[in-house]
């Protein structure tokens, strides 16, 4: 084995290096007053560097096809690093206020989950994929439990750990079936074997179903979504944001790659499975979201239904689907993070995440309200904001499949956009229209919050209208 192969894994290697740097910095600054600031800025700088560096990284392969980073995977890493960057920025006020002592750990854990996602996305075999998934899940559980002195956070973490372990078990079970059916763990080889052999062997179908169920837990698709609301509610707000955008994006990408690559020959089987899961996710999550009065729980259900929309792009298993998926995730990151940044800012200043306390917010904090409105409109898919473009493109990708059922699923998803608009508008209504005797007081946000909001709003406004973003993703989305 040549160690030079590690050089092909440049993004991962650099990330590990960053991890170590942050760790030692944190270690050395243990008693410093400005620890949060220094470690935070350092992580941000490194993430920016990583984002820029990754855009120029081409496809790579190492260890005999175990590690396969396609061009699309590299671009997806850019998107996730960008998302992580926003999370780190918007988390600063929270760290400053509530978790000064543990600021270093927060950054470390975030970077380790990112490493796990990198590995997930550039794996060429189930073995490495599983490894990446676990690397992403375990630190994530720690992040969820970050406010461990709060009962809710601990409860959320317990639930997350249980579900994560269980779903990993289910997934591993599925992988073992696949190995039994095909005798290999490499995606390409599996597809080749499935192509040759008798397709509908019960063993491979079982493997597919179990594997997909495991992944669906991570994506929190209905009916594997029960952990989502509690975990989202209990976790610290920046972590909830991170959970809802980055880990979801990574899992969706992996789902498309593995379904299209390894299970490509079995498309007739997983397509229908996907239809059912998508329709259920979007519809049920939407219906539950309407009744929520706690914003983070609300966003949890909203994110379940968004995951359903992301999976629409997987239906065709085509390159257009891949482009739409990456685009959707990118747009979803900026829109959702804008909402979470506002939620977090309000939580820091006024200590509430209850929807009714947002009544009349426009009177006291017009700018914040305005940005929140834009983000919600984007999530609901209202032009000229980016959300409408990303929704339209996943619909296009799904309809490209061409069958009656594909159109049917798109139709159900479209009807659900109206339902989702209803509940997003409920928040807008609370902020703009509902009169309130004692609205939240006027407050000044920290500069970190503002930076995050500016980045997100710029994304919401420009990612749609400037077609160059989509074009760039299209060119690079070969997988």
């Amino acid at each position: 084995m040549g160690y030079s192969q590690f050089l092909n894994m440049m993004p991962e290697a650099i990330l590990v290096l960053m991890l170590l740097i942050v760790f030692f910095t944190d270690f050395c600054l243990h008693h410093s007053e400005r620890k949060v600031e220094i470690v935070g800025r350092m992580t941000m700088t490194l993430l920016i560097y990583q984002t820029v560096m990754l855009t120029t990284t081409g496809p790579a392969e190492a260890f005999g096809g175990m590690y396969v980073a396609s061009q699309a995977a590299q671009v997806m890493k850019v998107i996730l690093t960008f998302g992580t960057f926003i999370v780190v920025v918007m988390a600063q006020p929270w760290l400053e206020n509530e978790a000064r002592k543990y600021a270093g750990e927060f950054h470390l854990l975030v970077l380790s989950t990112l490493l796990g996602m990198y590995i997930m996305m550039s794996s060429g075999s189930f073995l490495l994929f599983f490894l990446g998934l676990e690397t992403a899940s375990v630190p994530m559980a720690c992040l969820v439990a970050f406010d461990k002195w709060k009962k809710k956070s601990a409860e959320a973490a317990a639930k997350y750990v249980l579900v994560a372990t269980f779903s990993s078990g289910v997934m591993l079970y599925g992988i073992s079936f696949i190995y039994a059916a095909t005798g290999t763990l490499y995606f390409d080889d599996i597809a080749a074997v499935l192509n040759h052999s008798y397709l509908a062997s019960p063993l491979s179908i079982m493997g597919l179903v179990f594997f997909f169920s495991g992944l669906a837990f991570k994506l929190s698709l209905v009916p594997f979504h029960f952990w989502t609301a509690d975990t989202y509610e209990g976790a610290p707000t920046p972590v909830t944001g991170y959970l809802s955008v980055c880990s979801k994006g990574a899992a969706a990408f992996a789902a498309l790659v593995i379904l299209a690559k390894a299970f490509g020959p079995m498309i007739d089987y997983w397509e229908y499975m996907l239809y059912v899961v998508i329709v259920l996710s979007i519809t049920i999550a939407n219906l539950f979201a309407i009744r929520q009065s706690e914003l983070k729980r609300f966003m949890a259900f909203s994110s379940i239904s968004q995951a359903g929309y992301i999976m629409l792009a997987v239906i065709g298993g085509s390159q257009m689907g891949m482009t739409s998926l990456m685009y959707y995730v990118l747009v979803y990151i900026v829109a959702n993070m804008a909402v979470f940044t506002v939620i977090s800012a309000v939580e820091q200043k006024c200590g509430t995440t209850d929807m009714s306390s947002y009544d009349g917010l426009y009177q006291t904090n017009p700018k914040l309200t305005f940005l929140m409105t834009l983000a919600l409109f984007s999530l609901a898919g209202i032009p000229p904001f980016a959300g409408m473009f990303s929704k339209f493109f996943v619909f296009m990708a799904a309809a490209e499949e061409g069958s009656f059922w594909a159109y049917f699923v798109v139709f159900i998803a479209l009807v659900n956009t109206v339902v989702s608009l209803y509940y997003y508008l409920l928040i807008v209504k609370a902020m703009y229209i509902k009169p309130s005797d004692n609205p939240l007081p006027t407050f000044r946000t920290e500069s970190a919050t503002r930076i995050a909001l500016v980045i997100c709003t710029a994304g919401i406004a420009l990612f749609g209208i400037c077609s160059c973003v989509y074009d760039w993703l299209f060119v690079t989305s070969a997988f």
């Binding site: 409408m388 309809a399 159109y407 479209l414 703009y432």
Partner: protein
Amino acid sequence: MSILTLFVVIPALMLLGLWLAQSLNQVRGVMVAGASCLLALSVWLTIYFVQQRAAGNTDVMLLTASAPWFKPLNIAYSVGVDGISVVMLLLSSIIVFTGTFASWQLKPMTKEYFLWFTLLSTGVYGFFICTDMFTMFMFYEVALIPMYLLIGVWGSGNKEYAAMKLTLMLMGGSALLIIGLLGIYYFSGATTMNVNEIAAMHNIPVDIQKMFFPFIFIGFGVLGALFPFHTWSPDGHASAPTAVSMLHAGVLMKLGGYGCFRVAMYLLPDAANELAWIFLILTTISVVYGAFSACVQTDLKYINAYSSVSHCGLVLFALLMMTKTSCTGAILQMLSHGLMTALFFALIGMIYGRTHTRDIRYLDGLMKIMPFLAVGYVVAGLANLGLPGFSGFIAEMTIFVGSFENPDMFHRVATIIACTSIVVTAVYILRVVGKILYGEVKNKHYLELTDATWDERVAVICLIACVAGLGLFPLWASNVISDAVGPILANII
């Protein structure tokens, strides 16, 4: 870059200007400047268009331009106008201009109000200039969502309910539209989203057309107040602030008719021929039902909203009759109804601003107190019931003559039934005019009220001039329109 892009650029600059504006006067300045530019531009466009046609330019679309936008998906920003879009742009500019004056006194949050108002008009202009399905759809949705805040924040009465109902129903319509657009795009070969190119290819199988036609027609029909999807309209109009009612009834509802004609019927012609009878029945119901409903309402805005349902139903009705005369009449009706109804809503808003009630049971003798507004109201009423000399007469006459050209029983019976609405219109208009304008002033507080201020007069006079102008000199408009209707109908028949 086509000059048509200015129709989107000017509102965008207005948005920027409003955002930067510090004082009320600056906000008003930006609005008046922008609205005047748009009005001037659309007048220039109309004159240019007429001249070009007179000079023998027979292209289907003029001033066309196209730039790829999302190239891998064949989405382009392509613009172009034919006679229909030209008159619609003119209508929009007039309404935006007069709407600005009609909301001169609006408080509170004037700046935010005009921001959303301008965003709404951006959508409207964009929709009329575009010839690319995706871009059209995008602008269509841009025009819808500001309504929620405009009604919800600045409206009156049961505004939260009305705003939500309106937004959700219209977005439901646009959800149907997306399915239809995707169907058209993929089954026509997935090579272009340009309306004219798809129509020229004419290669969508008939079965597929029949499957997607209802989606598109109903999708746009919701906005065109097609029965039974019209229920958002009375509530929405009644709760909206004056200028928003004007813009919404005057222009936005026309998006529905325009879309039905330009997208549903133009691109899916065979299905339009086969399925027209279903929608013809629905629109006939709209026409008659809207008129009768208006008779029993007591709120001025509800009366006018149901009257709009009836008149907009007439637009779709005439389009589905599919003769050249009736379709020309339909577009004329869009133009005429847009102007009349804007005038109506403007006057109602002005009366309401003084009396603080719109209930006709409590209004009387306004002619003595505010003669200017009252006379305006009479003019609007007469135009609405189709008095010769005003635009309503020209439009309805053309529609019914055109509809009767169809030789078969079904179409003729439908025409006769729809014709009854003219009589019913007279009933509800004259009832209101008689009740609120004439007679004794019973409420002594009304004696202290004042007549229209200068900004209100500007709005009212402009609109009356347009209604009368179209009624007295209809030929140029009907020439411009029928010349554009021809190619579209040629595709259908």
